[in-house]
Amino acid sequence: MAATFHILFFTTCFVLLGILLSARAQTTAAPGSTQLPTTPAASTAAPTTPAPATEAPATQTSFPVNTNVGSCTCDLTRSACDVNCCCDPDCTSQDAQSFSQCLENLYKPDDRLCVQDHIIVFENTQFVSNLESNNLFCIYTDNYPARNYYTGADVVDTEQAFQNLLQTYETTSYSQVDSTATVYEDFYKSGDPVYTVNESGAQGTLGLPKADITSNCLDSSVAGFLQDETTSCTREWDSLADQCETSPSLNANIYYLGLKVARTPALFQSTLPPTTTGTTVTVTAVTTAVMTTANVTVPVSTSQPGNTTADNSTNLFDDPDLVNFTLANITCQDRQGHIVTCGFTGGSVPGPVYNRTSGFCDNMVLSVAYTVTHNGSQGISAVEVSFTLGSVHSTQTSVQQTSAITFNKQDSVAGFRRSGNPGYVVGEPLLAGTLVETTSTTSGEQVRSIEVSSNRNSWLTMLSSTADGSCLSSGDRTPVVFGEDMRSGCLVTVYFNNITSVCTLLQNTITDALQGTNPPTHVAVYGNSQLDAVGDWVEILGDNEPLVQTTGFRTTTCRNVVLGMHIEVLYSNIGALSNPQPKILAVRRRFENPQDITFTCVGTLCQAGGGQTGQQFEVVSSVTFIDASTSPTASLAEYPTIQTQLPFDFFYPFQTSSAVLHLSFKKIIYITAFVIFAVINR
């Protein structure tokens, strides 16, 4: 029994030893074998061509394996001393004394070796570097020196080998990547670009100009399918007189004329040219066809599915699967900015016209609104476009353009869009309205409910400015959206024409700009508060309008003008911590402290009389969202008190009685001395 055990272990032990030793031999031999010149091609070619002397390869400088190459990398000048290069053999000892430092690249091998073998190299210099690490866990015998050295830097002479190395080690490449072939789905998915075709048959996407970093319009922005969006950006010009009629972005016609929308992207599937993969398929098909003539037609017909159906000569613009734009409604503004009836008949929109006598550019596009009617995967069925045209005077250098796109499901009733369910969603407008009391027709009771505007962007609003910073006439205002702190300001210009007489008017204008017309009185607590559930609405706290009256003072000052309004929204998260639902606790409208505005003129403007010069005052409104969530606090039980007691004879040698801590001075000295002794001898 014992003998069999013994034989078993004996053999396994030897086998394992043999495997390990052979593995060792392999690892040490591997770098050496890579260093050998691998030219099997030359040896096979040798018998056919008898010893061509010119074919002998030039001997390549080879370095021994696993050695440190480049022990003196700073010796760059041949037969002359390099400054601060202590290992340069050209430098005399006098030279070396003038060196401030030694520049040589200090060879940093594995510092776990007990004694560094390269120290000897540096011992001849006057600068001693001792990298010895002589601790217990240094490497005493190193059977794997190859780890410190590079291997396999053989010159590559075939392109195949080059390609192999490239595939293994290449990280980035500047060569052109094979662009993934444009794939046109059978129908639009949300976020997809809406494809258009212009009169010449060129394919494009429906654009929605967005503001770039300088708030200028970025025309390359693309509208996403099913993504309702309203953007606003600035169009600038150098000279309105020249660019009014020529600039394409001010002309309404370029937004829809000569343009059609693809019903589905499937329209373009047939227009795709035969792809490159398709051609390679045909090439292989041809080569196989040479060998087997039986199946020539099969691969060719499958490789080009598009060309069989689509005629290359027809214009894509005439395709029946394209949807025309229809002109919906055009809003016109007169030169004062009031909305008037348009002076032209429907069916087409006139381009901008520059009136040289008045200096106005009429019929300029101020806003574009696309309304896309779709039918799900059936694609787009109709596209309507609406414009707001207005007049801009040539003294202005820019105009604010608004673009919007809305997607409507075909034959669907427009639903009321909530701002959250139930908690407010960040970015959604604050649901606000006014409380109304109506008499119920059935029971005759007084019913209270909230009246909310159908335009969700006019619920709770802040002032917004025009492109040149002046206050807008009420109507175009920035909606207050949940979770976004915002400050907006605009400039009112006050002219020194007996300023005191307009003080009240001025304050009314400012208040109007701050609040808008018919400011809401109630804000919904939840994003989905019902209109008839008045309890789910909180009244806006604070004053409806400035309390103090504005009065004139002397001829240049308006006293007690309120120039700012701040909305503070207190909200708190409810529900699970992982799924917080913001709930509005209170909203306060606060007017700034009244201040005196005094007309002051500067320098030459004063001397010119100053009657026509205006002074601008900034009117500010802001909204702040304050998170008043109370996070849960943990109530922990007290730590248990541990009732411990030492054994009565714990201090036995020093103390015999059971009374604890009755040490004599002498014993304390003994104990301390013992502890100190133990610590010192450690």
Binding site: A2, A3, F5, H6, F9, F10, T12, C13, F14, L16, L17, I19, L20, L21, A23, R24, T27, R112, C114, N135, L136, F137, C138, I139, Y140, T141, D142, N143, Y144, R147
Partner: protein, 145 residues
């Protein structure tokens, strides 16, 4: 001697038994230290593929063989059994090679390993000499029985 009756003479070697006892304790320490050093080396040093694993396997094999060797050696010495001593002595050979491997041929030999393996080799050598001597004395006593 036989004429004096049934008097027994203890042939077991006391130094050998002391060595086996000390060797047992030392080998436990050696094995744990070596295992910890493999952990250290595996963390700190780069290893060619499969070297570390096979070396650890070898360490486990060494543990098994050494325990068997010490068991047979000490029991054989106490019971004066030749066959046990033979097994113990023969098992010296794989133990010797394995310790030599850890001393010389493993991927990285740390200085601590040199010390540990050298002490183990001293134990091994002394036990080999004394074990052979004890076995010879057992064998000679066997012929007189």
């Amino acid at each position: 001697m036989a004429a004096r009756g049934r008097q027994t003479i203890i042939l077991s070697s006391l130094p050998l038994q002391v060595l086996y006892y000390l060797n047992g304790w030392y080998f436990g320490f050696f094995w744990i230290a070596e295992a910890l050093m493999f952990v250290y080396k595996g963390q700190v040093l780069p290893f060619p593929s499969t070297n570390l694993a096979s070396e650890i396997v070898l360490l486990f094999l060494l543990g098994i063989i050494e325990v068997i060797r010490l068991f047979f050696g000490s029991k054989g010495n106490l019971t004066e059994r030749i066959i046990s001593m033979v097994v113990s002595i023969l098992l010296c050979l794989p133990v010797l090679f394995t310790v030599l491997f850890f001393l010389l041929w493993q991927t990285y030999v740390l200085r601590a390993e040199v010390i540990l393996c050298a002490i183990l080799l001293v134990f091994l050598g002394l036990e080999l000499v004394l074990g052979v001597a004890a076995m010879v004395s057992f064998a000679r006593a066997e012929t007189f029985r």
